[in-house]
Amino acid sequence: MNGQYASLLIAIPLISAFFVPVIKAASKKAVMPFLVLVTAAQTAAAAWVFNEVYTTGKPIIVMAGAWRPPVGINLYIGHFAALFVFIVAAVSFLLSIYNFKTIKIEPIDKYAMLFLLLMLGATGMIATGDIFNLFVFMEITSITAYALTAYNKTGEAAEASMKYMILGGIGSSFFLIGIAIVYGSLGTLNMAQIAQLAGSMNATAAQAGLALLIFGLAVEAELFPLNAWAPDAYQAAPHPVTVMFSAFVVKAGLYAAARLLYIMQSVGSWHSVLKLVVIMATLTVLVAEFSALRQRNVKRMIAYSSISQVGFIALALALGTQAGVDAGVFHMVNHAIVKALLFIAVGYVAVELGGAEMENFRGLGRRMPITAFSITIGSLAVIGIPMFNVFWSKLRIILATVDVGYTWAAALVLIASVVEAVYYLRLLHVIWFEGSGERITESAALGAIMLLLVALVIVIGVYPDYVWNLAQKAGADIFNVAQYIKNVPLMGVGA
């Protein structure tokens, strides 16, 4: 099959989203099963792309309209994109099953469309190789996210969505200014060409451009202090959407930020920008962990924890070394799995017991054993107990961080991790040792999903080599910009 068929990754969710109104006109009941079907198809396509990229070892360059870059827009599905597009699709597939249990609020057809488009936006953000196209996909992602955050239509949901919109709006405006400066200086929008030419930019303009691009993406990537929208949005959004936020939407932003950061590495003030991001990432971890400490709402607590993990990833990505990027990618994968597990389980509890308050978790070990078990494994993994997957990536991150000389950053994030251990332990304590209640029959499908994720957590924990190899390749994809430029078949335009 031709590599260009990788464009189906964009086409499938899009055409299906447009198809939903037609289906709804026929039968409203068919919408949710349709979602399962589409995400399954998307997963299959992503698996094919993944296999293709990792067996040939060459990235797939999708050229829209047969125009070679930089004339046309290209999708660059390298090792990272192939890996993450697959994760996006697979998580969405799991969530499409999860939707049956958790989405009861009308209008479901609109939810289905937005769900697919959020998946599309994250896929596009990860895959694109054009900076303005990145902006468009970022807007698709964030506008869908705004809509889905407010989907529950409660006051809280609208409030969270509004906060997200205002901050995201400022962020995207400044991101666009960054694009304007870069375009004005270089006359191109293709990332590979920007990477080629970045050294020739005027230093002041380049610094401002890079700073603004990173600023805009940092809002999406939840770096402190630009992450104030995140806990509210995570808390108020419907449960599957929260899973999506934490499993891949934020990852897409992080990836985009890392990609732009490394593409612009011949800019003079690059190292100062890196340092700035390291500081922000460290603060993210610290503030988020401390904020989670006395949280009474478990969903919000895990949201803060997720933000702090994102800080970890950003720290690793901003180290500016191959080891750091590899570790960051590895942590992204692990975090996607673990946080998907935790949010699915917590959301399920919230649906069954009417809210994610700490009180509802009392005696969960007896009431919903499978869910409680999943939360336990997830929490232990997040804390960084060996033989669970997160341990390996945290270890890698710390090694890489100290290697670069940021011992203070490593020390601070580890202090924050102690705090994390405390509040997760408190949660586990509440689950297993307090209160009691009658047993609730757990849904078999959800149990299977959670146990699947638990199995992944443990398998990667016991045998991390395979995923670590993937992460190394994906990390090289981000870090090795020379190779990136070589991979994109640029046609000599102008220059």
Partner: protein, 627 residues
């Protein structure tokens, strides 16, 4: 390649998982016992190899980290101690463990400890270290949650400190295996020594690096060893779990910390630390610090042990104190001191293990833990009593027990190293140890027996076997300390302590265990004859105490079983006000309050403030760009 090492390492955890999965009474005990016996058997099997100075290595790759585990002269010593204690733990658990859960985590920590001892690189070391923490945490968690939380937090702090240290080492050397790192440190130490003499060289590790490394690793190992002031978790955690498991927990897990200090801080980076940190009063500074930490631990823990009213608590504090001896011995910085430390590792393991097994038996049979509820058990549990007596003698440092031999070495070392204050701490600690074992001896075994203990039976057989093993070892190593000393000499590749099986000769003195034993036996025989033929026993009421003029009231009623050392507590009132435990709690409280303030002021819910955050970031970017 499969050799003995992976079998020794992984048999226990596999057995633990099987026991947990099957969880049938009888079967799980058999599996668990097998899992504990096999490592011991294999370790004995490889003894000839390691005694020759050869080593057996097992390597594997995980997460593209190369890991290797080696049994050599050094690691075998620690491993066999761990394994024997593990075996006795398993024997004890046959009687005390009620579920597969206990077997799983006990055997998991067995594997973990062996892994820590044999690991030859920092990744596997850290991995098994964490596994050890996790397994022991799970054991404590089942019995007492507050204690487990304290233990967990301190352990996590320790683990992260170690992680930072490892990361720093890795950053400077690019290696994670001990051999390479040791070489780098050795070379760097030489260079440091040279640069001290005016020769300039680029050093791998700066002085700051070494201070950081020392702090990180000392914190990490100090937590596990229960060194002051990181000991606060230990008394609670030791006392609040399955007592058979505590045999292992206090006997071996704390030794992992000692092993870390000994191996990492001393053997690996000792020379470098010496050259980088300099000396204090002619003594390497870092060793001086370790010695003082040890001394303070001994004194504080012993005082606190004296004041306990709970059997388990008393032994727990005592354990903490005994580990202090080992640190102190390491801190003397002489080969004699190291020998003493290593010997005390062994003897503390066996006598404290024996203590906890005795306690396990007593608690199993009576269900009580406070001294005031005990009494007169010697008649009911004679063998247990005999074993308890051996343990008491050994702990108090009375010949001819193993405890005496090792403590004697430590005294010698402290005197030889010209550390009179530290030596004073040892003497004080010994006196206090005597004070609290007396309490253990009398209130449990002698005196009037409360009526509800009348139908107490002798400890179950497996427990007795376990006690027997440890008791015999105590006596054997006590009478023939040369057995151990000879092996320790092999470690140093030179005879630090000369003599034969029964005789230890140090630069300062000689201890002939055999003759002391013979004299002692003769003395006991004479005393026994006198007792049988001469003396007449005088009946004393239990309440006849020593109150020195104070009237006996209901609340000021001091007997050996209750508030025996209350006057001491009153005398120490001023000091007891300051508790590290409370200090940490207060610290935790403060940081939680801080977290609240932070959370409420940063995430204050006002989107305009959030926009200001964005503006401030832009402002910083702008100022940085413009200026």
């Amino acid at each position: 390649m499969i050799n003995e090492v992976p079998i020794i390492l992984f048999v226990p955890i596999v057995a633990g998982i099987l026991a947990w999965v099957l969880d049938v009474k009888g079967v799980r005990e058999l599996i668990g016992l097998a899992g504990a016996v096999i490592p011991v058997a294999y370790l004995i099997k490889v003894y000839p190899t390691v005694a020759d100075g050869k080593s057996i290595t097992y390597a594997l790759t995980l997460g593209s980290f190369n890991m290797s585990f080696t049994l050599n002269t050094m690691t075998w010593y620690f491993a066999i101690i761990g394994a024997v204690l593990g075996l006795t733990m398993a024997l004890g658990m046959v009687s005390t463990a009620k579920s597969g859960y206990n077997w799983l985590f006990a055997l998991m920590s067995f594997t973990a400890v062996l892994g820590v001892f044999t690991a030859q690189d920092f990744v596997s070391f850290f991995l098994f270290w964490e596994l050890m923490t996790f397994a022991s945490f799970m054991m404590v968690l089942k019995y007492n949650r507050h204690a487990s939380l304290k233990y967990f937090i301190l352990s996590v702090i320790g683990a992260y400190a170690m992680l930072l240290g490892i990361a720093l080492v890795y950053a400077r050397t690019g290696a994670l295996d001990f051999a390479t790192i040791s070489q780098v440190f050795a070379k760097d130490a030489q260079l440091t020594g040279l640069s001290g003499m005016g020769y300039h060289a680029t050093l791998t590790f700066s002085r700051t690096d070494m201070i950081l490394l020392f702090t990180f690793f000392l914190t990490a190992f100090g937590v596990k060893a229960g060194a002051f002031p990181l000991h606060v978790w230990a008394p609670d955690a030791y006392s609040e779990t399955d007592q058979s498991y505590t045999t292992f927990f206090s006997g071996v897990l704390s030794k992992a910390g000692v092993y870390g200090i000994f191996y990492v801080l001393l053997m690996m980076m000792g020379a470098k630390l010496y050259f980088s940190l300099g000396t204090f009063h002619g003594h390497p500074l870092f060793l001086y610090i370790i010695a003082w930490i040890g001394a303070i631990t001994v004194v504080v823990a012993s005082f606190l042990a004296v004041l306990q009213e709970d059997l388990r608590k008393l032994l727990a504090y005592s354990s903490v104190g005994q580990v202090g001896y080992i640190l102190l011995a390491i801190g003397t910085g002489t080969a004699l001191g190291f020998s003493g430390a290593l010997f005390h590792v062994l003897s503390h393991a066996i006598f404290k293990g024996l203590f906890w097994l005795v306690t396990a038996a007593v608690i199993l049979r009576t269900g009580k833990t406070r001294f005031e509820d005990f009494g007169g058990l010697a008649e009911k549990m004679p063998i247990t009593f005999a074993m308890g007596l051996v343990a008491v003698l050994s702990l108090a440092g009375i010949p001819p027990m193993a405890g005496f031999a090792s403590k004697w070495l430590i005294y010698e070392a402290a005197i030889q190293a010209h550390m009179p204050l530290v030596a004073g701490a040892i003497f004080l600690g010994s006196a206090l140890a005597f004070a609290y074992v007396v309490r253990f001896l009398y209130s449990l075994w002698f005196g009037q027996r409360p009526s509800d203990l009348d139908d107490v039976k002798e400890a179950p057989a497996p427990l007795l076997v376990g006690m027997g093993i440890l008791g015999i070892l105590n006596i054997v190593f006590g009478i023939a300390p040369g057995l151990v000393v000879e092996y320790i000499n092999k470690l140093f590749r030179k005879p630090v302590i000369t003599g034969n099986y029964y005789k230890m000769i140090t630069p300062n003195g000689t201890y002939n265990a055999l003759s002391v034993t013979l004299v002692l036996i003769a003395g006991i025989v004479i005393a026994g004859l006198l007792y049988v033929y001469g003396a007449r026993a005088r009946k004393v009421p239990v309440t006849d105490t020593y109150q020195s003029g104070n009237p006996v009231t209901e609340e000021y009623n001091l007997s050996i079983r209750r508030n025996f050392y209350r006057p001491l507590a009153e005398a120490l009132d001023f000091w007891l006000k300051y508790s590290w435990d409370r200090f940490y709690e207060r610290l935790g409280q403060l940081s939680e309050d801080f977290a609240d303030v932070l959370r409420k002021s940063v995430y204050n819910g006002n989107v305009q403030s959030y926009s200001w955050y964005l503006a401030i970031v832009l402002l910083i970017l702008a100022l940085w760009g413009v200026l």
